[in-house]
Symmetry: C2
Protein backbone atom coordinates (compact mmCIF):
# COMPACT_ATOMS: atom_id res chain seq x y z
CA UNK A 1 0.00 0.00 0.00
CA UNK A 2 1.64 3.23 -1.07
CA UNK A 3 -0.43 5.63 0.94
CA UNK A 4 2.59 7.94 0.88
CA UNK A 5 2.47 8.43 -2.84
CA UNK A 6 1.83 11.99 -3.91
CA UNK A 7 -0.40 12.88 -6.81
CA UNK A 8 0.02 15.71 -9.24
CA UNK A 9 -2.61 17.44 -11.25
CA UNK A 10 -1.37 17.08 -14.79
CA UNK A 11 -3.16 18.78 -17.66
CA UNK A 12 -4.30 15.35 -18.85
CA UNK A 13 -5.78 14.40 -15.49
CA UNK A 14 -7.57 17.70 -15.12
CA UNK A 15 -9.13 17.54 -18.58
CA UNK A 16 -10.20 13.92 -18.13
CA UNK A 17 -12.05 14.77 -14.95
CA UNK A 18 -13.57 17.92 -16.42
CA UNK A 19 -14.87 16.13 -19.48
CA UNK A 20 -16.18 13.23 -17.46
CA UNK A 21 -18.10 15.60 -15.21
CA UNK A 22 -19.63 17.45 -18.15
CA UNK A 23 -21.71 14.49 -19.24
CA UNK A 24 -24.18 12.20 -17.55
CA UNK A 25 -23.90 9.46 -20.15
CA UNK A 26 -21.52 7.24 -18.15
CA UNK A 27 -19.05 6.88 -20.99
CA UNK A 28 -16.72 3.95 -21.55
CA UNK A 29 -12.98 4.52 -21.39
CA UNK A 30 -12.67 5.07 -25.10
CA UNK A 31 -15.62 7.39 -25.23
CA UNK A 32 -13.75 9.47 -22.65
CA UNK A 33 -10.67 9.08 -24.84
CA UNK A 34 -12.57 10.56 -27.79
CA UNK A 35 -13.88 13.43 -25.70
CA UNK A 36 -10.48 14.31 -24.30
CA UNK A 37 -8.72 13.98 -27.63
CA UNK A 38 -10.65 16.94 -28.92
CA UNK A 39 -8.75 19.00 -26.36
CA UNK A 40 -5.45 17.12 -26.09
CA UNK A 41 -5.12 15.39 -29.45
CA UNK A 42 -1.97 13.44 -28.59
CA UNK A 43 -3.18 11.95 -25.30
CA UNK A 44 -2.83 8.21 -25.13
CA UNK A 45 -5.54 5.71 -24.27
CA UNK A 46 -3.39 4.28 -21.50
CA UNK A 47 -3.31 7.66 -19.82
CA UNK A 48 -7.07 7.80 -19.91
CA UNK A 49 -7.39 4.38 -18.30
CA UNK A 50 -4.75 5.17 -15.72
CA UNK A 51 -6.44 8.39 -14.67
CA UNK A 52 -9.97 7.08 -14.64
CA UNK A 53 -8.78 4.33 -12.34
CA UNK A 54 -7.02 6.84 -10.11
CA UNK A 55 -10.01 9.16 -9.96
CA UNK A 56 -12.17 6.22 -8.92
CA UNK A 57 -9.75 5.22 -6.21
CA UNK A 58 -9.81 8.78 -4.93
CA UNK A 59 -13.59 8.78 -4.88
CA UNK A 60 -13.86 11.49 -7.53
CA UNK A 61 -15.57 9.13 -9.94
CA UNK A 62 -17.07 5.69 -9.89
CA UNK A 63 -17.42 2.67 -12.11
CA UNK A 64 -20.85 1.58 -13.18
CA UNK A 65 -22.24 -1.02 -15.50
CA UNK A 66 -22.63 -4.71 -15.89
CA UNK A 67 -20.39 -7.22 -14.20
CA UNK A 68 -17.99 -8.52 -16.78
CA UNK A 69 -19.00 -5.94 -19.32
CA UNK A 70 -17.02 -2.99 -20.51
CA UNK A 71 -16.32 -0.47 -17.78
CA UNK A 72 -18.34 2.72 -17.70
CA UNK A 73 -17.43 5.76 -15.67
CA UNK A 74 -19.52 8.22 -13.73
CA UNK A 75 -18.09 11.59 -12.78
CA UNK A 76 -20.60 12.14 -9.97
CA UNK A 77 -19.01 10.99 -6.75
CA UNK A 78 -22.11 10.93 -4.56
CA UNK A 79 -24.02 7.67 -4.67
CA UNK A 80 -27.14 7.57 -6.79
CA UNK A 81 -29.22 4.89 -8.44
CA UNK A 82 -28.75 3.78 -12.04
CA UNK A 83 -30.91 2.35 -14.76
CA UNK A 84 -29.18 0.00 -17.19
CA UNK A 85 -30.36 -1.34 -20.54
CA UNK A 86 -29.99 -5.08 -20.80
CA UNK A 87 -29.54 -4.88 -24.55
CA UNK A 88 -27.40 -1.85 -25.36
CA UNK A 89 -25.69 -1.49 -21.94
CA UNK A 90 -26.47 2.20 -21.78
CA UNK A 91 -26.62 3.50 -18.21
CA UNK A 92 -28.67 6.49 -17.15
CA UNK A 93 -29.07 8.20 -13.82
CA UNK A 94 -32.30 7.95 -11.92
CA UNK A 95 -33.48 10.27 -9.19
CA UNK A 96 -34.24 7.62 -6.67
CA UNK A 97 -36.55 9.32 -4.22
CA UNK A 98 -35.67 7.62 -1.00
CA UNK A 99 -32.23 7.55 0.50
CA UNK A 100 -30.19 4.59 -0.61
CA UNK A 101 -30.74 1.76 1.81
CA UNK A 102 -28.28 1.07 4.59
CA UNK A 103 -27.17 -2.29 5.86
CA UNK A 104 -27.64 -3.14 9.53
CA UNK A 105 -24.29 -3.83 11.17
CA UNK A 106 -25.42 -7.27 12.26
CA UNK A 107 -25.85 -8.44 8.67
CA UNK A 108 -22.57 -7.11 7.35
CA UNK A 109 -20.70 -10.33 8.14
CA UNK A 110 -17.67 -8.49 9.37
CA UNK A 111 -17.41 -6.36 6.26
CA UNK A 112 -16.56 -2.71 6.64
CA UNK A 113 -19.20 -1.35 4.31
CA UNK A 114 -18.40 1.95 2.65
CA UNK A 115 -20.72 2.18 -0.31
CA UNK A 116 -23.86 0.87 -1.86
CA UNK A 117 -24.96 0.64 -5.44
CA UNK A 118 -28.53 0.32 -6.55
CA UNK A 119 -29.16 -0.59 -10.14
CA UNK A 120 -32.37 -1.22 -12.01
CA UNK A 121 -32.10 -3.35 -15.12
CA UNK A 122 -34.44 -3.36 -18.06
CA UNK A 123 -34.91 -2.43 -21.68
CA UNK A 124 -34.45 1.17 -22.74
CA UNK A 125 -37.03 2.96 -24.91
CA UNK A 126 -34.76 2.97 -27.95
CA UNK A 127 -34.14 -0.78 -27.85
CA UNK A 128 -37.79 -1.45 -27.12
CA UNK A 129 -38.73 0.44 -30.28
CA UNK A 130 -36.21 -1.44 -32.36
CA UNK A 131 -37.69 -4.76 -31.32
CA UNK A 132 -41.15 -3.84 -32.67
Amino acid sequence: MDTQRQHRLSRQRKVILQELCKVDTHPTADEVYDMVRRIIPRISLGTVYRNLELLCSQGLAQKVGQAGGQKRFDGAPQPHAHLRCRLCSRVVDVDYPEALPALPEALAKGFEVSACTLEFVGICPRCKAQMS
Copy 2:
Protein backbone atom coordinates in the same frame (compact mmCIF):
# COMPACT_ATOMS: atom_id res chain seq x y z
CA MET B 1 -33.69 -12.59 -32.29
CA ASP B 2 -33.98 -16.37 -32.31
CA THR B 3 -36.82 -16.74 -29.88
CA GLN B 4 -37.73 -19.92 -31.72
CA ARG B 5 -34.53 -21.70 -30.81
CA GLN B 6 -35.03 -24.86 -28.79
CA HIS B 7 -32.73 -25.84 -25.97
CA ARG B 8 -31.58 -29.27 -24.95
CA LEU B 9 -30.43 -30.34 -21.54
CA SER B 10 -27.01 -31.81 -22.21
CA ARG B 11 -25.06 -33.55 -19.48
CA GLN B 12 -22.65 -30.65 -19.49
CA ARG B 13 -25.38 -28.08 -19.01
CA LYS B 14 -27.03 -30.05 -16.26
CA VAL B 15 -23.83 -30.53 -14.30
CA ILE B 16 -22.84 -26.88 -14.68
CA LEU B 17 -26.13 -25.75 -13.20
CA GLN B 18 -26.00 -28.37 -10.42
CA GLU B 19 -22.49 -27.42 -9.38
CA LEU B 20 -23.27 -23.72 -9.54
CA CYS B 21 -26.27 -24.20 -7.28
CA LYS B 22 -24.29 -26.20 -4.73
CA VAL B 23 -22.17 -23.24 -3.70
CA ASP B 24 -22.87 -19.74 -2.52
CA THR B 25 -19.42 -18.43 -3.33
CA HIS B 26 -20.38 -16.76 -6.63
CA PRO B 27 -17.58 -18.41 -8.58
CA THR B 28 -15.92 -17.03 -11.69
CA ALA B 29 -16.24 -18.93 -14.96
CA ASP B 30 -13.03 -20.83 -14.44
CA GLU B 31 -13.84 -21.69 -10.88
CA VAL B 32 -17.00 -23.29 -12.26
CA TYR B 33 -14.80 -24.95 -14.88
CA ASP B 34 -12.66 -26.49 -12.12
CA MET B 35 -15.70 -27.70 -10.23
CA VAL B 36 -17.30 -29.28 -13.26
CA ARG B 37 -14.06 -30.86 -14.47
CA ARG B 38 -14.03 -33.08 -11.43
CA ILE B 39 -17.18 -34.66 -12.87
CA ILE B 40 -16.67 -34.25 -16.61
CA PRO B 41 -12.89 -34.08 -16.98
CA ARG B 42 -12.86 -33.36 -20.71
CA ILE B 43 -15.35 -30.48 -20.67
CA SER B 44 -14.07 -27.35 -22.35
CA LEU B 45 -13.94 -23.88 -20.89
CA GLY B 46 -15.89 -22.54 -23.83
CA THR B 47 -18.76 -24.87 -22.98
CA VAL B 48 -18.78 -23.53 -19.44
CA TYR B 49 -18.96 -19.95 -20.65
CA ARG B 50 -21.62 -20.74 -23.21
CA ASN B 51 -23.84 -22.47 -20.70
CA LEU B 52 -23.42 -19.97 -17.91
CA GLU B 53 -24.45 -17.30 -20.36
CA LEU B 54 -27.46 -19.33 -21.46
CA LEU B 55 -28.51 -20.08 -17.89
CA CYS B 56 -28.40 -16.37 -17.11
CA SER B 57 -30.48 -15.51 -20.13
CA GLN B 58 -33.03 -18.08 -19.02
CA GLY B 59 -33.14 -16.57 -15.55
CA LEU B 60 -31.72 -19.70 -13.90
CA ALA B 61 -28.60 -17.88 -12.80
CA GLN B 62 -27.37 -14.33 -12.65
CA LYS B 63 -24.16 -12.40 -13.03
CA VAL B 64 -22.77 -10.50 -10.10
CA GLY B 65 -19.63 -8.60 -9.35
CA GLN B 66 -17.89 -5.37 -10.11
CA ALA B 67 -18.54 -3.36 -13.22
CA GLY B 68 -15.75 -4.14 -15.61
CA GLY B 69 -14.30 -6.86 -13.42
CA GLN B 70 -14.28 -10.58 -14.04
CA LYS B 71 -17.75 -12.08 -14.20
CA ARG B 72 -19.06 -14.02 -11.21
CA PHE B 73 -22.07 -16.27 -11.33
CA ASP B 74 -24.83 -16.87 -8.86
CA GLY B 75 -27.00 -19.95 -9.10
CA ALA B 76 -29.81 -18.43 -7.04
CA PRO B 77 -32.29 -16.95 -9.46
CA GLN B 78 -34.36 -14.88 -7.02
CA PRO B 79 -33.00 -11.39 -6.45
CA HIS B 80 -31.08 -10.80 -3.25
CA ALA B 81 -28.54 -8.29 -2.04
CA HIS B 82 -24.78 -8.79 -2.23
CA LEU B 83 -21.77 -7.69 -0.29
CA ARG B 84 -18.58 -7.23 -2.30
CA CYS B 85 -15.01 -6.80 -1.11
CA ARG B 86 -13.29 -3.85 -2.73
CA LEU B 87 -9.91 -5.53 -2.42
CA CYS B 88 -10.29 -9.23 -3.19
CA SER B 89 -13.54 -9.00 -5.21
CA ARG B 90 -15.16 -11.77 -3.23
CA VAL B 91 -18.95 -11.57 -3.25
CA VAL B 92 -21.14 -12.93 -0.47
CA ASP B 93 -24.87 -13.04 -0.05
CA VAL B 94 -26.58 -10.88 2.49
CA ASP B 95 -30.02 -11.43 3.94
CA TYR B 96 -31.31 -8.01 3.28
CA PRO B 97 -34.29 -7.66 5.55
CA GLU B 98 -36.55 -5.43 3.55
CA ALA B 99 -37.85 -6.20 0.11
CA LEU B 100 -35.62 -4.86 -2.61
CA PRO B 101 -36.72 -1.40 -3.54
CA ALA B 102 -38.97 -0.81 -6.51
CA LEU B 103 -38.79 2.08 -8.95
CA PRO B 104 -41.82 4.31 -9.45
CA GLU B 105 -43.00 4.17 -13.06
CA ALA B 106 -42.67 7.92 -13.43
CA LEU B 107 -38.92 7.80 -12.81
CA ALA B 108 -38.17 4.89 -15.13
CA LYS B 109 -37.60 7.19 -18.13
CA GLY B 110 -39.41 4.84 -20.48
CA PHE B 111 -37.36 1.82 -19.44
CA GLU B 112 -39.14 -1.46 -19.01
CA VAL B 113 -37.57 -2.41 -15.69
CA SER B 114 -37.32 -6.12 -14.97
CA ALA B 115 -34.74 -6.45 -12.23
CA CYS B 116 -32.87 -4.64 -9.52
CA THR B 117 -29.51 -5.28 -7.97
CA LEU B 118 -28.47 -3.99 -4.60
CA GLU B 119 -24.81 -4.25 -3.72
CA PHE B 120 -22.93 -3.10 -0.68
CA VAL B 121 -19.23 -2.50 -1.15
CA GLY B 122 -16.57 -2.61 1.50
CA ILE B 123 -13.61 -4.48 2.89
CA CYS B 124 -14.03 -8.09 3.92
CA PRO B 125 -12.78 -9.35 7.29
CA ARG B 126 -9.93 -11.32 5.75
CA CYS B 127 -8.55 -8.35 3.83
CA LYS B 128 -9.07 -6.07 6.81
CA ALA B 129 -6.93 -8.41 8.90
CA GLN B 130 -4.20 -8.52 6.28
CA MET B 131 -3.91 -4.76 6.24
CA SER B 132 -3.08 -4.61 9.96
